[in-house]
Amino acid sequence: MNDFWEELVQSLGNLKGNKTRSFLTMLGVVVGVMAIIGIISIGEAGKLSIKKDLESFGSNLAAIWADKREDTVYKPLNNYDVEFLRSLPFIKDVSPTLSLYREVRRSDKRLDCPIMGVSPSYFGLNNRHIEKGRFFSSFENNNFRRVCVITEGIKKELFERHGIDDPVGHVVKIGDFPFFVIGVMKKIELQSFLSSFVGEEKEIYVPERTVKTTFGISRINYILFGLKEGVKPTAARKSLTSMFRLRKGRNTYYGMQFVENQINAFSSVMNTVTMIITLIGALSLFVGGVGIMNIMFISVTERTREIGIRKSLGATQVTILRQFLNEAVILSLLGAFAGIAIGSLVTLAVEGLIKWKPYISPGAIVLSVFFSLIIGVVFGIIPAKKASALHPIDALRYE
């Protein structure tokens, strides 16, 4: 028999004749598919936004700092190390970072806050932007100028609260020394949950050489550097480790951190989580499949007489098998489509609620249709086999 459409129409007719039951049977698949669509879409959207946030810090950003382990001695980083890093062919940009606490004053307002001594390349390395004014220049750094760039928190506490909207051009006292405010840094804007880890910044950025001369501090906390395009963090770590051993002595230890590694580590954690939850979704699809099998068994028993009639009219075993298999597959596919529709709506609503870009994973749709098809066939085949194997006269006599 080659009339596929006729078979389909008849299968649909049979399912329509048992609307409530068909719907309840599909429910398991609907829920399973909804779970898969929702979880994968939200998971992927989250992964994308977090990855984007991490990359906004500069994906080739890295840091090195002096550290001490049980069998090593602490040997701080110095200016020669900065120059050495700057000279390496696989490094793009370098900025030492010195940090200290000082009291900051403007007229009678006081604030204790961290002072960051950095070089001008720090801002580019960190992907930071200016809101008002400008960053300081190499000239200002090299000539120990007392200029500073302030952040959101400082602007609020020392200026806006007291009626000054534009701090640029004003003077603040850091410790005992007056500094010109030449710029205000733009806030870090993140879209993922990472934003909750980044509070309001209350730092003041000052040229590192000014810090050394003005405050008499020369200890570098860490050196930020950017890897050139295409340089692998693992390779950089390896050569830097051996170079620093040569430079600083075999009994020293220097810690390193690479943003790219962080992104990869994060991605792999997210992948694992997505996989586990998808597995749970697949499990509920499986349970839905068992539901389909149950109903198909009941359906075969109820329609034993129909099977007998069809066989007496010339239906072969294959015809009957196909009829019942069709019904199982239609049930699971209808369930899948309903699940995709409802799951997508729910996903979009959730994404809207947490203010993410609307995103439905096409992979999840393909996956759930494929899964449901398999489940329809796998769980439909046993009842269908039972139906097709019925002896015509036994089926006809069935009451």
Binding site: D3, Q10, R310, K311, S312, L313, G314, T316, H391, L396
Partner: protein, 228 residues
């Protein structure tokens, strides 16, 4: 020429450990174009005989030749094809599919025969017209009277121009007037050359046939020839 040859056909049912013989050593020859009644009280084995003849049931022993083909050697597909092409069934309880309308019911054997949609439609309507149901094609079985349902069933049995019509108590569920109309259809079908076997336990039905085969306790007792 013989359409049907039965050689020592037996059918034994096993009920637990007890063997119940429903048909014992049945020998029978039926010519093409014959009109035959199978008679006997209930439980005599007449339905079993009809089921074996219709390739719905497989005998325990013996040989059955239908149109010179050894039915015992056929597989599922060949058996299905015989039921589809060679034989038309008419049952006491009509056995229409309740969710399909009259036309769709008549189309079923045509679907299994692989006839295209358009042609199916035309042939089904012609068949319904030939049994006097031209206006009833869209009706569900539940919307038809008993006599009308049986006429749909007859139209369905004729769908693929079978050589043989097997009717198992076709008037059993009908009032006498509808029953008489059904028998008239069989009579005219036989006149056009179709072999007809009717299972019945009523004499006035059997009298439509040329011969009656009387069955008792699974054995063919005697064959009675009707004079018309």
């Amino acid at each position: 020429m013989n359409l049907i040859v039965l050689k020592k056909i037996s059918k034994i049912y096993k009920m637990g450990k007890v063997e119940v013989p429903a048909l014992v050593d049945a020998d029978l020859q039926i010519k093409k174009g014959e009109y035959l009644a199978i008679m006997g009280p209930s439980g005599s084995g007449k339905s079993t005989l009809m089921n074996v003849l219709g390739c719905l049931d497989v005998p325990t022993s013996g040989e059955y030749y239908l149109d010179s083909k050894d039915v015992g050697k056929l597989n599922d597909v060949e058996m299905a094809s015989i039921r589809n092409q060679m034989i038309g069934f008419v049952f006491q309880t009509f056995n229409l599919l309740p969710r399909l309308n009259a036309r769709k019911n008549v189309e079923l054997p045509l679907i299994y025969a692989g006839v295209k949609r358009q042609e199916r439609h035309i042939r089904a309507d012609k068949l319904l017209e030939s049994v006097g149901l031209s206006g009833r094609a869209e009706h569900l079985p539940s919307e038809l009277s008993g006599g009308e349902r049986q006429r749909v069933a007859i139209a369905r049995s004729l769908a693929n121009d079978p050589h043989l019509i097997l009717a198992d108590e076709p008037t059993g569920n009908l009032d006498s007037k509808s029953g008489e109309e059904i028998m008239k259809i069989f009579d005219s079908l036989n006149k056009s050359g179709v072999t007809i076997i009717v299972v019945t336990h009523e004499n006035f039905i059997a009298e439509h046939a040329d011969k009656s085969i009387h069955i008792l306790d699974g054995r063919i007792e005697r064959i009675e020839v009707h004079k018309k």
